[in-house]
């Protein structure tokens, strides 16, 4: 068994490569192609036309990326603010109709978004929220919130009430207790939930399209017409750009939190260094 380990590792790595990296190759080729037809394995001619269109000029790509990320971040912030009290209530208290609350909270994962969005659309029309950034943000909350609540709940379940009791006995009021005991413990769950929330929000097409009615332009909105029959080269370029955006925002979030932690630690270390 032991001997086979490097071999198994190699096979797994290869599999991973085929599953994840390989699909990007034709995408890359396609984005640089100038007419790529069956039965050619590689394009006959290359050009920068698609990238030229996507990255410069009047395509509005940069603005769409900005809008996408802006929406994702606002949505995630709202989710975190909603998820912490929700998780607290669902984990700590037993109350009548708890199962119903949980079902409602987690329903968006199970029910197709299209069903919910038709109702939301009607309501938003009456409220005048369609075609606005606020409307899109609110609509994005519904498919993302369950993931954040779920992740924070898992963190909450591992936080024994004793910790809060201990902080209480040391004289910490509700706010200090939350800030210095509960929040640090929930951090991993919050990070996991936030990452999911950002990714899901970035990749929303249908909800953004219906609520935004084409007025709120995110990257998927730009991408979609090219995929469904327009220009495969431009669609490929947008797809790659989308992947880069998603990965970059995830890495960005990760780096932000890690530096936050590191700074906190070094601050403590320097404080010690001075005093001892």
């Amino acid at each position: 068994m032991r001997k086979n380990l490097p071999f198994a590792k190699g096979v797994l790595l290869l599999l991973l490569f085929f599953m994840i990296a390989l699909p990007f190759v034709p995408l890359l080729l396609s984005s640089f192609s100038f007419g790529w037809q069956w039965p050619h394995i590689v394009p006959e001619a290359f050009s920068f036309r698609a990238w030229n269109y996507v990255l410069t000029g009047s395509s509005g790509t940069w603005q769409a990326i900005g809008v996408s990320i802006f929406i994702a971040l606002i949505v995630t912030s709202i989710n975190i603010l909603l998820a912490i009290p929700a998780a607290h209530a669902l984990v700590r208290f037993s109350f009548r109709g708890k199962w119903l609350m949980e079902t409602i909270l987690f329903a968006p994962i199970v029910i197709p978004p299209f069903v919910a969005i038709m109702g939301i659309h009607l309501t938003f029309l009456r409220l005048g929220l369609t075609e606005t950034l606020l409307g899109v943000v609110l609509a994005h909350v519904s498919p993302t919130l369950p993931y954040v609540v779920r992740a924070v709940m898992v963190s909450y379940q591992t936080l024994s009430v004793d910790w809060e009791d201990q902080a209480r006995m040391l004289g910490a009021g509700p706010i200090s207790r939350f800030y210095s005991v509960v929040l640090p413990h929930l951090m991993p769950g919050i990070i996991a939930g936030a990452s999911l929330s950002v990714l899901i929000s970035l990749s929303q097409y249908l909800i953004t399209f219906i609520i935004g009615s084409g007025q709120v332009v995110t990257l998927p909105i730009l991408l979609f017409p090219f995929i469904s029959g327009g220009d495969p080269a431009v669609a490929s370029a947008y797809s790659l750009l989308f992947a880069v955006m998603a990965i970059a925002s995830l890495v960005g979030l990760d780096v932000l939190l890690k530096t936050y932690y590191r700074r906190k630690k070094t601050r403590q270390k320097t404080a010690k260094g001075v005093t001892t």
Binding site: D165, Q166, R168, M169, L170, G171, Q268, T275
Partner: protein
């Protein structure tokens, strides 16, 4: 004087459908703990001692009853404002803070400046024998060290009362003894009032000025360790304190008579008539040898030695008398004369015969 007073404190837990036997409840508790006293609640697990402690802390709300410290009624004061400190069974050190910051946490909550609180925290860490550990994180400490930090953290704010919920029960025996000594020293030094919960009678006896023995949500007896041990008021207390030689009998006209008629002696007319138990402490059974003087008063017994076991420093000898198995403690010199199967004579001094009423 700022004694801690617990008046008519009651707590009834709601009956849960899962738990079909009667729900746990804490009977009305009245206790006065003097300032600077080390007071222990001793009882088996599930007897309500932790519930009582949490009621005193304010972490649980009582159904009825009041808490007073000196002239102040603290019943309505929330836990964080009572200026009590508490050490739990687990050390519960905040993992994202250094040891120093953990100890200084209580002072931070009191808005003490950073310089001052860190200085105080370091002083306290030195006092519990952890000088130089301040910059570490809690996970780099051993269990005993963590509990020391927890103790330092509780004491640094100079609490009115220090509450301790089986703080050493998760530690191994030798460490437990070390912590016991440390706590005893520190308690005397700081003159802090301590309410200590434990199920370990040795621990309670070692540390406490006074002990309350609890069982099934009720305080059975309060007293000094020696009082409790030599003069238990009920068989339950006796049994919990490890006094296994309990002989059923009846008192009539100042005469105790065991149900098997083996014991028959005068207990004085002050003892009321009725069913009762004779409690014989294992060290009260004295071996009669050729040299030993015959007892002037008291009773003599004889029995066959069934078992001899060594227990730290002395021997536990099981003797089968006519009707009862009795346990007695002998030292190694005495044991030298004794073999298993031998018929030995022993006596009990009249003052060591203790009769308790059945309740």
């Amino acid at each position: 004087m700022s004694d801690l007073q617990i008046c008519q404190m009651k707590k009834q837990y709601p009956q849960t459908p899962k738990n079909e036997n009667t729900a746990f409840s804490l009977q009305a508790v009245n206790l006065t703990i003097r300032e600077g006293e080390f007071f222990s609640l001793l009882g088996p697990s599930g007897c309500g001692k932790t519930t009582l402690l949490k009621l005193v802390a304010g972490l649980l709300a009582p159904d009825t009853g009041e808490i007073w410290v000196g002239e102040r009624n603290l019943t309505a004061v929330p836990a964080e404002a009572r200026q009590f400190a508490m050490v739990f069974q687990q050390s519960l050190l905040f993992p994202h803070m250094t040891v120093e910051d953990n100890v200084a946490f209580g002072l931070k909550m009191q808005k003490v400046s950073k310089k001052q609180r860190l200085a105080k925290a370091r002083g306290m860490l030195k006092r519990v024998g952890l000088n130089g550990y301040g910059t570490r994180f809690p996970d780099a400490l051993s269990g005993g060290q963590q509990q020391r930090v927890a103790l330092a953290r509780a004491l640094v704010t100079q609490p009115r009362v220090l509450l301790m919920d089986e703080p050493f029960s998760a530690l191994d025996p030798s460490l437990r003894e070390e912590m016991r000594e440390l706590l005893s020293q520190i308690q005397k030094e700081f003159q802090v009032t301590v309410l200590f919960v434990t199920h370990d009678r040795e621990e309670a006896f070692y540390l406490s000025d006074r002990i309350a023995v609890m069982s099934d949500g009720e305080i059975l007896q309060v007293g000094k360790a020696k009082e409790l041990y030599e003069r238990p008021q009920t068989t339950k207390v006796a049994l919990f304190l490890g006094l296994k030689n309990s002989i059923e009998g009846i008192v009539e006209n100042g005469q105790f008579c065991s149900s098997e008629k083996q014991f028959n002696f005068s207990v004085g007319t002050t003892t009321p008539n009725g069913q009762c138990h004779l409690i014989l402490r294992p060290e009260a059974l004295q071996l009669i040898t050729k040299e030993s003087v015959n007892p002037s008063d008291g009773i003599c017994l004889h029995g066959i030695v069934k078992e001899i076991r060594f227990s730290h420093g002395f021997y536990v000898v099981n003797i089968h008398t006519a009707e009862y198995f009795l346990e007695c403690n002998l030292n190694s010199q005495q044991v030298a004369h004794v073999t298993i199967g031998q018929d030995i004579k022993f006596m009990v001094d009249a003052k060591d015969l203790w009769v308790v009423q059945n309740k």
